[in-house]
C-alpha cells in the first residue's frame, strides 16, 4: 500500500514537473487548491459558529453560521407547508429518494432484484401515495393546498414524476419515429421531438402555466403544480426519445427481423427483443438526460413554484438572518451535488457494465 502510494507520487511528480511549462502549471494549480482549501477550512471550521453557540455570535465572524441552519432547516426543506404536518412531506421525500435509489440499483443490476412488473407497481404506489400525503383531504388527513408544497418534496415530485411519465412517452415517440409503415405518424413524431428540443425549457414552462389552462374546457381548472408537471413531461419526453432512438439505431437490423421470422408480431418483437436491448444500449445517455432534467427542475421557480432554491431564498429573506445567504446556498448546492454525484456514479457503473 505504501509502496503504491510512493509509486503514484513519483509518477505524479515526474509528469507534473517534466517541463518548465508543466512545472509552472503544476505550481499554479497546487497554489489554487491550497488557497481554496484554506478559505474553505477557515469558513467551515476555524471561523464557524457552532450549533450550540448563540446566534448573535454569527454577527461577529464571517464563518459558517450553524445556528442559522438549525433555525431554518425545516423552512428550507419544506417551505410554507404547515409546520405541524411536516412529517408528511418528510415521508414523501424519503419515499421518493428510496424509489429513485431502488430504480437506479435495478439499472445496474444490484439487489433487490425485481421484475419490471413489480418495479412498475412500486412506482405507481409510491407516486400515488406521495400525492395523497402531500395533498391530504382523504383518510382523515388535513387538506393542504398545492401552493404550500414547497422545498425538497416538490423538487422530487416534479423531477421524479415527470421523468416517470416522460419515459414511456419518449419510448412511444421513438417507436413512432423509427417505424416505416405509417409515414405521417413518423413525420408527426419527429417534428414533435425536434420542435420541443428546439425551444428552451423556460418557453415550455410558460406555455404550461399560461397557455395550457386556456386549452382546458370551461370550468376545469389546473393547479400550477400540475400544469408545470405536464409541461415537464412533454419536454423531457423528447429528450428521452432521442436517447432511446440512438440505442434503437445502433441495434443490428437482424434482431428485429429474426424476431419477425420467428412469427412474433410487431409489438411482441418490440417489447421482447428490440426495446430491452435498445434501452440497455441507451442507458448511459438516458442517465445524462436524467441528471439534466433533475437539475433543470429548479427553473420552475420562474413560474411561481417554490422549490428548494426558492425556499433557500426565503430563509435569508427574514430580515434577522439576511447575512446568511451563503449558508443557505451551500446547503442547497450540497444537496444537488450529492444527488447528482450519485446519479453520475450510476451512469459510470452502466458504462462499465456495457463495456464488459
Amino acid at each position: 500500500m505504501n509502496f503504491t502510494f510512493a509509486a503514484h507520487l513519483r509518477t505524479g511528480l515526474r509528469e507534473g514537473f517534466s517541463s518548465p511549462l508543466a512545472a509552472a502549471l503544476s505550481l499554479l494549480t497546487g497554489g489554487l487548491i491550497v488557497a481554496i482549501a484554506w478559505v474553505s477550512i477557515r469558513w467551515l471550521l476555524l471561523e464557524a459558529v457552532w450549533p450550540w453557540q448563540e446566534a448573535d455570535a454569527c454577527r461577529e465572524t464571517t464563518g459558517l453560521c450553524w445556528p442559522f441552519l438549525t433555525e431554518k432547516v425545516r423552512l428550507i426543506l419544506f417551505g410554507t407547508y404547515p409546520f405541524d404536518l411536516q412529517a408528511r412531506p418528510a415521508a414523501v421525500s424519503v419515499m421518493l429518494c428510496l424509489l429513485a435509489v431502488l430504480t437506479c440499483r435495478q439499472m445496474v443490476g444490484k439487489p433487490p432484484r425485481l421484475n419490471a412488473g413489480q418495479l412498475a407497481a412500486i412506482w405507481v404506489l409510491v407516486i400515488g401515495l406521495s400525492f395523497v400525503l402531500m395533498g391530504g383531504g382523504v383518510f382523515g388527513l388535513q387538506a393542504v393546498d398545492p401552493v404550500r408544497w414547497n422545498g425538497l418534496p416538490i423538487l422530487l415530485i416534479l423531477s421524479i414524476v415527470a421523468v416517470a411519465l416522460a419515459f414511456p412517452l419518449g419510448v412511444l415517440l421513438t417507436l413512432a419515429r423509427v417505424q416505416t409503415s405509417h409515414p405521417i405518424l413518423a413525420l408527426l413524431a419527429s417534428s414533435y421531438v425536434e420542435i420541443t428540443r428546439g425551444v428552451p425549457m423556460l418557453t415550455v414552462l410558460f406555455v404550461g402555466i399560461f397557455v395550457l389552462p386556456l386549452t382546458l374546457p370551461a370550468g376545469v381548472s389546473i393547479s400550477p403544480v400540475m400544469a408545470t408537471l405536464v409541461a415537464l413531461v412533454f419536454f423531457h419526453a423528447s429528450y428521452f426519445a432521442e436517447d432511446i432512438r440512438g440505442g434503437l439505431l445502433s441495434l443490428p437490423a437482424g434482431q428485429g427481423e429474426a424476431a419477425n421470422s420467428l412469427g412474433m408480431t410487431y409489438w411482441q418483437a418490440t417489447r421482447l427483443v428490440v426495446l430491452p436491448q435498445a434501452i440497455r444500449r441507451s442507458l448511459p445517455s438516458l442517465v445524462n438526460s436524467l441528471i439534466g432534467a433533475y437539475k433543470d427542475t429548479s427553473l420552475v421557480v420562474v413560474v411561481g413554484i417554490h422549490d428548494l432554491t426558492a425556499t433557500a431564498r426565503m430563509s435569508f429573506g427574514d430580515p434577522e438572518w439576511r447575512d446568511n445567504a451563503l449558508e443557505a446556498y451551500v446547503l442547497v448546492g450540497l444537496w444537488f451535488f450529492l444527488s447528482c454525484a450519485y446519479l453520475s456514479g450510476i451512469g459510470r457503473q452502466l458504462h462499465r457494465n456495457s463495456a464488459s
Binding site: 433555525e71 431554518k72 425545516r74 423552512l75 419544506f78 417551505g79 410554507t80 407547508y81 404547515p82 409546520f83 411536516q86 393546498d145 401552493v147 404550500r148 414547497n150 370551461a218 370550468g219 381548472s221 400550477p224 411561481g304 417554490h306 426558492a310 431564498r313 426565503m314 429573506g317 427574514d318 430580515p319 434577522e320 439576511r322
Partner: protein, 345 residues
C-alpha cells in the same frame, strides 16, 4: 366562463334588486371559517416565511386583520405566497378572497370587474438613494449625476418627467439585472439609485455598509399600495373599516397591549373609544349589519394592533429597516402624513 358568470350574476342582481349589503364572498369566508389571503412569497419586512414556514410581515398583518375582524381569530387567515400576476388571476378566478401584497391601485386595474381596491395601507413612491459622501440633501441638487435605474421601467419615465420639468441634467445607467444594478451603485459606478422608497430601504440592507447611504426626501411618483379583495360590498366594507379601526386606535392611543384594560374600564374612556368597543357601540351596530362578530374592533386591535404598532413591528426604527414612521407619508394626517382615519359612528 368568468364573463358568463359575471353577466349572469349581474342579471340576477338586477332582476331581484336586493338591498345593497349581500356578501357572497364574505359568506364564503364565514362558511369555510378561513380567509385565503395572497402575499408576496419573499418580500423582506412585508411578507416572508419565518422559521416555521408561517408568513410574517407588514402586509401579512392586514391578512390577519381581516381574519380577526371577520372570523374573530387572526390565525384563521390562510396566507399564501404567490407571484404578482398570478395573485390577480387567482382573485378573479375565486381562488382567494383577498391580497395584501403591495399592489399599487391604478385606474385601469380598478376598472377590472374582478378586483376591488379597498384600503391603502402604505403610501409608497419613487425616490432616490445616494451615498452620504455625495453631500446631497435634496434631489434638486442632482444636476449632472449618473442615475442607476431599471431599464424599460416606469422608473425611468418618472425620472425623465421630474428632472425634465426642473431642467436638471442627468445621465442614466441602464442595467436590467437588479443585482448587477445594485453592485454598480455600491461600487460607485453611479451616483444615484432610483426605485420605490420601500425597495430602496430593503435594497440598502444588501450593502456591506448600509449606514453610509441615505434616501433623499423627494418622492416623485404616487404608489398607493392597497388591499385588494374580490368584489363584494360586505367584504370590502369589513376590510375597509377594520383598517379604519386600526387608524382610529392610533389617534385614541389604543394598542394591543392596553386594549384589554381599556375595554374593562370602558365607562371612564372618551366617547370615541366607547364607540369602538362598547356593547351598543357604532362598531357593534356595523357588525350586526355586516355579519361580523360583535367585538370585531376589539379582536382587530388585541390580535393585530394599531396601525403604527404594525408598522413599527416590521419596518420601524427597531427593525433592520429602521424607517421613521413620522417621516413618511404613512403617518397620520395630524402628524403630517397622509393616513386619514374615517370616523366610526
Amino acid at each position: 366562463m368568468k364573463n358568463l358568470l359575471s353577466s349572469v350574476a349581474a342579471l340576477t342582481a338586477a332582476f331581484f334588486a336586493t338591498p345593497a349589503l349581500s356578501g357572497p364572498v364574505l359568506d364564503d369566508i364565514i362558511a369555510k371559517d378561513k380567509l385565503i389571503c395572497l402575499v408576496n412569497p419573499n418580500s423582506p419586512g412585508f411578507s416572508v416565511p419565518d422559521s416555521q414556514g408561517v408568513f410574517q410581515g407588514f402586509n401579512t398583518d392586514f391578512c390577519r386583520m381581516a381574519a380577526a375582524a371577520i372570523l374573530g381569530d387572526a390565525t384563521k387567515a390562510d396566507i399564501r405566497g404567490i407571484g404578482f400576476s398570478d395573485s390577480m388571476k387567482t382573485i378573479v378566478a375565486d381562488g382567494a378572497h383577498m391580497a395584501s401584497r403591495s399592489i399599487t391601485a391604478t385606474g385601469t386595474r380598478d376598472a377590472d370587474p374582478g378586483l376591488a381596491f379597498v384600503a391603502t395601507t402604505f403610501f409608497d413612491g419613487q425616490g432616490f438613494m445616494v451615498p452620504k459622501t455625495l453631500g446631497v440633501s435634496s434631489a434638486t441638487e442632482l444636476n449632472g449625476a449618473t442615475v442607476c435605474a431599471e431599464d424599460g421601467s416606469t422608473t425611468l419615465l418618472n425620472i425623465a418627467d421630474w428632472f425634465g420639468d426642473r431642467d436638471i441634467q442627468y445621465r442614466v445607467e441602464n442595467i436590467a439585472d437588479k443585482t448587477a444594478r445594485l453592485e454598480a451603485f455600491f461600487s460607485g459606478k453611479c451616483d444615484v439609485y432610483a426605485s420605490d422608497v420601500t425597495a430602496l430601504l430593503s435594497d440598502r440592507l444588501l450593502s456591506d455598509t448600509p449606514e453610509t447611504y441615505t434616501i433623499l426626501p423627494e418622492v416623485i411618483s404616487a404608489e398607493p399600495l392597497t388591499l385588494v379583495t374580490q368584489p363584494d360590498q360586505a367584504l370590502e366594507a369589513a376590510v375597509f373599516w377594520a383598517f379604519q379601526v386600526m387608524l382610529n386606535a392610533d389617534i385614541l392611543g389604543v394598542t394591543s397591549k392596553n386594549v384589554t384594560a381599556i375595554v374593562e374600564d370602558l365607562e371612564s374612556q372618551p366617547k370615541a373609544v366607547q364607540r369602538l368597543f362598547a356593547e351598543d357601540s357604532a362598531a357593534a351596530e356595523m357588525a350586526g349589519k355586516l355579519g361580523l362578530p360583535k367585538d370585531w374592533a376589539f379582536q382587530v386591535i388585541s390580535q393585530v394592533g394599531a396601525y403604527s404598532e404594525v408598522f413599527e413591528r416590521h419596518l420601524g426604527k427597531e427593525t433592520p429597516f429602521g424607517i421613521d414612521l413620522s417621516e413618511t407619508a404613512n403617518a397620520l394626517v395630524g402628524d403630517g402624513g397622509q393616513m386619514y382615519a374615517y370616523p366610526i359612528r
